[in-house]
Amino acid sequence: GGQSGGGGSGGESGGDSGATATDSGMDGEGSQSGSSSDGQNASLLTAEGSSTVYPISNTGSSYWNSNAPPSDGEYWGSNSESTVPGWEQLGEPDMLIADYFASKFGFEPTEQRSSPPFPTTVGLSHSGTGCEAVTDGLVDIGNSSGPITAELDWSEEQAQSTVVDNVVGRDGQPVVVSSDVIDAGITELTGEQVRAIYQDEITNWNQIEGVDYDQEIYAIGRAEGSGTDTAFRLNMLGDANASMSGVDTRFGQNQQVAQAVSQNEGAIAYMALAFTSESVVPVGIDFDGTLYEPDRDAEHTIFDSDYPLNRDLHMYTLIEEDNPDGGGYDAREAAFINMFLNEFGQTIFVEGNNYIPLPTSDLRSMKEQVSALATEDLVMP
């Protein structure tokens, strides 16, 4: 096991301490294959993929790695000043955050800040990469904002026999424009108009009815193979393989899209909710007469589950043949994913990033799914 902290790291202030895992019962082999049947593998848990899911899983990861104590109050637990949301539902456990969630899958608590039972890391790319990586065994968790069936062109059966689909939240994929477009009075578009823009039928804002704004449209897209792109083609253009000849530029990650929208005039883009801001403004979309607005108080909003661009956010794990009773998990994967599947996780990681929390029913079924390996009852905390 790695006593970590080469160079100058070490127990410096700020809780960024060096020690990583205790390697109880670990044999060097397991650490390489990334899976182990005896459930006590404490090697680094790796995740990779969707930039949409990234905020959720990365925030989760940094909470996990911090292993904050229950007396913290700000990130975990409760004290006289504050209490984390969902604390009561969890039964106010007297354990550090990662210790608590890991112990439910048989890990020994470390009882040390910044030293979780096993460390986690999240790579940023996009859904296609995440799905590829998890099926190739390159990482433990593949983040994706589109269904793996669409990402990798799989059949439903193939997907079910290869990976476990863990849905941790939902995104109401907004269509955003740059602030000059908003200033020109364009606050809503029809689905048809968006489609026409992206299929090169409308190239200037003044071609849209009732708009007097002579500005070429800068149609920004996401990388082919990203979940956002796949979902947009599927839900907006009608087909996961629909043509998008109107795209002027494509960016690998949501953040670049946000930056490009804020840096340029006449821009339009589709992205994930977490990345909207004052200069990256969502517009209302009119689908067949129903206007879905970005405002949470409106009648129909882009946060609604019937908003056509609404989509699930997935963390896929691979079903490994040498782990028949794991149900597609090893203990680390299950322990980490389980952290998102309760009110605490949904509030902090999902809502906190401007995404839509899962309805209770979905939450329950997800929890049942990860229980396969649990040493304690998960469904009722």
Binding site: H126, T129, A223, G225, A240, N241, M244, N264
Partner: protein, 375 residues
């Protein structure tokens, strides 16, 4: 002298090699010979094992280490010879492996994209005949034309920047600058080569691209012009240092000869030094072109990432995709044909740059033999 055919010459060369080996065997102590053979054989076995992704690779490798250790202590002369020889061979091997692996990976898509001319099906031809790249919506096409266009555009701009500026700077360094100035400028140029391309890319993406889009009123940001300028600045040090070598390899006696008849320094440079070093200087520019073609990160973060020809073709104010940025952008989620197509891009890059490198070396070699043989 009688004309000697090529095959005869080859046979003679081969014969010489055999003779060399025989001499070595003859001159070497048998014990050393055994050790050396064990070293060579075990290393070969380890290499084969590695290629075959075998878990047993470690065994021959251990034998190799042990034999080397023993040989080092007991027969240092022979062991050193064999070790350095294997190291040389490994270098060649790496080049060979690169060729084999990137070519091998690119085969399937070449078959997919074959086109028929005059009744003959030529693999991969369609990638160069039509200009449509679409990896998602049918018809799925992996054309290299847009990326080749992009690479050419970037390279042309980069060469226009790096060529004249580089040659002028090389002239300055080798002929004009006083020692003190050279002591500062030369390391400066070298440091320029050291600035990581991602830093250029970062500045390009956050500062230059928005500025350019604003200046030229383009729709959105990312232009071949500015990628080319940035890449040109990156290629500049290569041009400067190679051209400077060429210029200073012109014998001082030639330059003095010219000055002694009462010409100005500038006349000497243009009439004697530059013509004499012409091939070396062109080799420098060629190598700069090679650098520009292979530059990746700045292009990746600055370009638009939509493989498409600009409209019109000379529109440098738009920058779509180059061969390098295509790979860097798509390697992640690509699979199947698309992945193979990236390897095709790699092959094009590799072959082009290799040809340029060999061409530049040939030119330089000719110049040196001309100057060396003549003067």
């Amino acid at each position: 002298m009688e004309p000697v055919t090529r095959s005869e010459r080859l046979t003679a060369a081969a014969g010489k090699q055999v003779q060399c080996v025989r001499d070595f065997v003859h001159d070497t102590d048998p014990a050393a010979l055994v050790v050396v053979t064990v070293i060579a054989v075990s290393l070969l076995a380890a290499f084969v094992g590695f290629l075959a992704v075998s878990n047993l690779t470690i065994l021959p490798f251990a034998v190799f280490l042990a034999a080397t250790g023993y040989g080092w202590v007991r027969h240092q002369e022979e062991t050193a010879l064999v070790l350095t020889l294997t190291m040389t061979v490994s270098t060649l091997l790496i080049l060979g492996l690169i060729i084999v692996f990137i070519f091998r990976e690119s085969v399937p898509v070449l078959q997919y994209e074959s086109a028929t001319v005059f009744g003959v099906s030529v693999p991969g031809l369609r990638m160069f005949l039509q200009s449509n790249w679409d990896a998602v919506s049918p018809p799925i096409r992996y054309s290299m034309v847009p990326m080749i266009h992009g690479t050419v555009m970037v390279t042309v701009v980069a060469t226009a920047v790096a060529g004249p500026l580089g040659v002028a700077a090389a002239l300055f360094l080798s002929e004009i600058a006083p020692d003190v100035v050279r002591e500062f400028v030369k390391p400066g140029v070298e440091i320029l080569a050291g600035i990581p391309s991602i830093v250029y890319g970062f500045i390009g993406f956050t500062i230059l691209s928005p500025w350019a889009s604003d200046q030229f009123r383009t729709t959105g940001q990312g232009s071949y012009l500015f990628v080319g300028i940035v890449v040109g600045l990156m290629a500049l040090p290569t041009v400067v240092s190679v051209a400077e070598d060429a210029l200073s390899s012109v014998p001082e006696s030639m330059k003095s000869g010219s000055l002694a008849v009462g010409t100005t320094d500038w006349q000497t440079m243009t009439s004697i030094t530059l013509p004499a070093a012409f091939s070396g200087v062109s080799a420098a520019v060629l190598l700069g072109v090679g650098r520009a073609i292979g530059e990746t990160m700045a292009a990746t973060v600055m370009l638009r990432g939509v493989p498409r020809l600009t409209d019109p073709l000379v529109n440098v104010f738009y920058g779509q995709e180059t061969l390098t940025s295509l790979i860097a952008r798509n390697y992640g989620e690509a699979d199947g044909f698309q992945m193979d197509a990236l390897f095709v891009a790699g092959v094009i890059l590799f072959v082009t740059v290799l040809v340029i490198s060999i061409g530049a070396q040939y030119i330089e070699w000719r110049m040196r033999s001309k100057l060396g043989g003549g003067a």
